[in-house]
């Protein structure tokens, strides 16, 4: 079973307990995170090669839209800055990434829109039916303009005072 689905199942079952810990990293030679620090430091100094960036390159294939927060664009931007060795902008990008909830790519946004539409659809249909019903009672026709909230008060005002406003909408 893939690790991600196993962890997801564990999370659903609330079987994971998280231990809050703090740590620091001191540069070391043997395989560890400390060794990654050494690689990055040598890369910035010009004594190491671009293989130090592999730790971020290796993350890219995993950063699909299926993950909770799509980080693909952010990591790509970070890699570009790393290749340019622009330390100030790297720090800013890192801070941005740590603050952000993840920047969605186009596919992400489309899926968010589709999911939102799925959630809103029944409510929209109900709202539409209710509005038509009200309008039938008032004996008028209306074209519902979804997403134009600023106009809603004026439409409501028009419906409430048809004789003063005069005419029809649509």
């Amino acid at each position: 079973m893939p690790i991600r689905s196993t962890l997801r199942k564990l999370r659903r079952g609330k079987e994971i307990v998280w231990l809050d810990v703090k740590t620091n990293i001191e540069e070391e030679d043997y395989p560890s995170n400390a060794n990654m620090v050494k690689g990055l430091r040598e890369y910035f100094e010009g004594t190491g090669d671009e293989s130090a960036l592999d730790i971020f390159e290796a993350l890219l294939p995993q950063l699909t839209c299926k993950t909770k927060r799509c980080r693909q664009k952010e990591v790509k931007d970070l890699l570009q800055l790393l290749k340019a060795k622009d330390r100030l902008r790297i720090a800013k990008q890192c801070q941005k990434m740590l603050k952000s909830k993840g920047v969605g790519c186009l596919t992400c946004w489309v899926s968010i829109l589709i999911n939102t539409a799925r959630i809103l659809e029944p409510a929209t249909i109900r709202l539409e039916r209710a509005s038509l019903q009200i309008f039938r009672i008032l004996g008028r026709r209306i074209v519902l303009l979804f997403g134009l909230e600023p106009f809603v008060p004026s439409i409501a005002g028009f419906l409430c005072r048809p004789s003063q406003q005069g005419g029809h909408i649509g």
């Binding site: 079952g13 079987e15 998280w18 809050d20 540069e27 995170n33 430091r41 910035f44 971020f56 909770k68």
Partner: protein, 201 residues
């Protein structure tokens, strides 16, 4: 806790710097003294000697202290510990000479569920002193796992002007890895049963 055993691994690469070798030997001497494996006192002055004696009185769990070269780092450590516990489990079952297969399986299952393996690095500082104990209870009662929610405080490289940016980069690396459920940092804890049946954890 009734039966706790601490296994200390001191990882020393083949060509380690002599300063690191000296530090490792001192660590080994101190641990051997504290856990009553050796009587040779490693304290260099009175205050140190008093401190080590106090720790010797305070810490009673059994300890195994190993100084090895772990070429593959943490991954190799996980592999070695699990393999060692499997051998011990097998020896414990064999020692009991249980003839009936179902009883033998039941005993193995009980041992696997009640044995909790907890991995923790020496540079990991727990935010809550009781968290390890509560994690252990959680694992035994709910058959769960304990993972570390790591906050990186600082990075110390040989070029101090780069420490800040390296720290930011490593923080991002940890956060993204955690979001992907790919982080293998300690602390990690689970029962032997989970480790055998779901080794991907």
């Amino acid at each position: 806790m009734s039966d706790v055993e601490i296994v200390f691994y001191i990882n020393e690469p083949c060509h380690a710097h002599q300063d690191k070798v000296a530090a490792n030997r001192l660590t080994l001497d101190i641990l051997n003294f504290i856990f009553e494996i050796s009587e040779r006192h490693p304290g260099r002055h009175d205050a140190e000697r008093a401190q080590f004696l106090e720790l010797r009185e305070m810490l009673k769990p059994r300890a195994v202290i190993l100084l090895e070269e772990l070429e593959a780092g943490l991954g190799e450590l996980y592999r070695n510990v699990v393999a060692s516990f499997m051998v011990r489990l097998s020896a414990a079952v064999a020692a009991l000479n249980i003839a009936e297969k179902s009883a033998r399986l039941g005993f193995i299952d009980r041992l696997e569920r009640t044995t909790v393996l907890m991995f923790i690095d020496d540079d990991i500082h727990l935010q809550n002193r009781d968290s390890l104990l509560s994690a252990c209870n959680h694992i035994q009662e709910k058959n769960g796992v304990a993972l570390g929610n790591v906050t990186l405080t600082n990075v110390c490289s040989s070029s101090s002007s780069m420490d800040a940016v390296l720290c930011w980069l490593m923080r991002v690396f940890f956060v993204v890895k955690k979001e992907l459920n790919m982080c293998i940092l300690t602390p990690r804890a689970a029962s032997l049963k989970i480790i055998i049946t779901r080794p991907q954890l």
